[in-house]
């Protein structure tokens, strides 16, 4: 929950005159996405193998006659898994192969727009080079050296992988359920004080979201520190009352975060 870590970003200027900055997916996400895709293809072939061997034991004669066709399909299929799978998936599923979808990363152009066929073809043809000498060694080294974690194929195609985060907005809006509480809890004139700035609100809300899962001792200690931080104008007596119980502390903090309600 810290304010965005110094991770690489792609900056996009939109026609609406708002600057977007997309977080770039690092080498870890990309390797995992590749592993998912690779195992998907692997299991596809394993399944196919079993299906075919079952067929052979069943209808041996008929299968022999078809063996030419099967071999053709095999050659074309192997080719498809090696080259076509990636580009077709990226073009038809908005820049995401199944593996990338699982990892919530997406291929986009460097200006943030979706990839087209040619960009996708370039970056996936370059897999052959990035794979050299084994297991994407070239690609990984390039990714480590490049500021936006691009492999050679991305450099040539002008694409970059961006990450989509799962961001929970509930912590901002879940207040009303507990809004009734402050009336009975002694949280004296919390709303009279100076409203907090966004960073403090963020900090308090992050604490409140996690508080139920914390150890009681830690929960009290962190709560006390936050009360001291945001409730500077409390009198000693009020402070002691607020700190009496964990619930009281958190109710005070919640009211404080929503000061202008």
């Amino acid at each position: 929950m810290t304010p965005s870590a110094p991770a690489p970003h792609v900056d996009v200027a939109t026609p609406e005159r708002v600057a977007l900055s997309l977080p770039v997916a690092g080498i870890g996400y990309r390797c995992l996405a590749w592993l998912v895709d690779a195992s998907l293809l692997f299991f596809f072939w394993v399944a196919l193998y079993f299906v075919i061997t079952l067929l052979v034991s069943d209808v041996l004669g008929a299968f022999q006659a078809l063996s030419g066709l099967t071999q053709t399909l095999l050659a074309v299929g192997l080719f498809a898994t090696q080259w076509l799978y990636w580009t077709l998936a990226e073009v038809f599923f908005h820049g995401q192969t199944p593996g990338k979808r699982v990892m919530r990363i997406r291929v986009v152009r460097e200006d943030g727009s979706p990839v087209g066929f040619f960009e996708s073809a370039v970056r996936n043809l370059c897999r052959a080079v990035d794979f050299l000498p084994v297991l994407y060694a070239t690609g990984c080294i390039t990714m480590l050296l490049d500021s936006k974690h691009r492999r050679l194929g991305d450099l040539l195609a002008g694409t970059v992988l961006v990450r989509e985060e799962a961001i929970d907005l509930d912590k901002y809006t879940q207040g009303p359920a507990t809004d009734a509480a402050p009336a009975s809890t002694p949280a004296p004139d919390a709303s009279m004080q100076r409203p907090l700035d966004a960073a403090d609100v963020e900090l308090v809300l992050a604490f409140l979201a996690r508080a139920p899962g914390l150890e009681p001792e830690v929960r009290r200690r962190l709560g006390t520190r936050l009360v001291d931080r945001v409730g500077a104008s409390l009198t000693d007596e009020e402070r002691a009352r607020v700190l009496q119980s964990a619930e009281g502390t958190e109710a005070f903090l919640r009211t404080r975060a929503k000061a202008a309600h």
């Binding site: 939109t14 053709t72 050679l152 450099l155 989509e164 901002y172």
Partner: protein, 336 residues
């Protein structure tokens, strides 16, 4: 002072949720006209909210959420024109041959490299008989020593369509690699071209020396011209990439690379179907003695001539017409 963050989020969140739902639907399929209008309105509102969040709540989760939401909506709204049937047709009718003619320089250099390899291979084997041991694969040498073509057995172990698909995919892989390895400063295509040239030259010279020139010609005549042309074109595409990397001109290196990469891949994508077709010729017609040599030579030469006629003439005169009958607006205003 701005509204406190929770108030801001609570007030604006319904719009964001609606936008997110619309974007999910947009990815799954098409949207109706009214939904598109809503999408547009909601996106603009979210962009305004993002601007507010950037000013008053930088670095918060709300800011990050809006940033991501706007990025997704931006991607959905500002889409490049879709590549559809019409543009595929247009690509083969006009764009691919035109690109090739524009980059003829690189294809020429690439052809030169292949010919250089051919000459080298042939020269080495002709001048130094033991050179064949170095340059010609052992399997091929064994067949030649017995006075037979190694391709004679090709069809007896597998039916022709299997041979054809195997050959086609193998050749496609070689071709694609000749292009992709261009990013290694152009060393890759040079190696692929010279290497393939040396191999063909050496095998040819070995056959000639052993008095099997007719057999060699018989095998390569039907598919050789087109297949070598395609390798040369793909090598040229690889050289384009290498050149952009070594001498980017007035652009920054990364930009030059992207611009040239986009042009170069057109040559490779354009060649792919022809390569698959010629793989069929190589599997069905070239091996064995189903067709007489003169027929193979005739077929090879005419296919090669047709291929180059297409590359050099297509789209040259009808460029203006072809552009007119594909209205670009209809392609770009369709959301998917």
């Amino acid at each position: 002072m701005a509204t406190p963050l929770p108030t801001f989020v609570t007030r604006r969140r319904p719009d964001w949720d609606a936008l997110q739902a619309l974007l999910t639907r947009q990815r799954a399929g098409r949207l109706g006209l009214t939904e598109l209008r809503t999408l547009d309105t909601l996106y603009r509102r979210a962009a305004a909210d993002l601007a507010q969040a950037q000013t008053f709540y930088p670095g918060t989760d709300a800011h990050r959420f809006l940033n991501q939401l706007c990025a997704q909506a931006y991607g959905a709204i500002y889409q490049p024109p879709r590549e559809r049937w019409a543009s595929t047709r247009d690509f083969f009718r006009r764009d691919f041959p035109a690109t090739l003619r524009r980059e003829a320089r690189f294809v020429g250099v690439s052809a030169g490299l292949l010919v250089l390899g051919l000459l080298l291979g042939a020269l080495v084997v002709t001048l130094e008989p033991r050179g064949a041991e170095l340059l010609v694969p052992e399997g091929v040498r064994r067949y030649v020593a017995q006075g037979r073509m190694w391709t004679d057995d090709l069809l007896s172990v597998a039916p022709p369509n299997a041979v054809a698909s195997g050959i086609a995919t193998n050749n496609l892989t070689v071709t694609l690699f000749a292009f992709a390895s261009g990013i290694l400063l152009g060393v890759g295509p040079i190696f692929t071209l010279v290497n393939n040239g040396v191999l063909i030259g050496a095998v040819g010279a070995l056959c000639f020396r052993e008095g099997m020139a007719a057999g060699f010609l018989d095998f390569i005549a039907a598919h050789g011209p087109v297949e070598l042309s395609i390798i040369v074109i793909a090598g040229g595409a690889g050289l384009m990439v290498g050149q952009a990397l070594i001498d980017p001109g007035e652009l920054p290196r990364a930009q030059a690379l992207q611009a040239r990469g986009r042009e170069a891949v057109k040559l490779v994508v354009g060649c792919a179907p022809f390569l698959a077709a010629i793989g069929a010729v190589e599997g069905f017609i070239s091996p064995g003695h189903l067709f007489p040599t003169w027929a193979k030579v005739g077929l090879g030469l005419s296919l090669g001539a047709l291929f180059w006629l297409y590359l050099l003439r297509a789209g040259r005169t009808v460029a203006g017409v072809a552009r007119a009958d594909v209205p670009e607006a209809s392609a770009s205003n369709r959301l998917r």
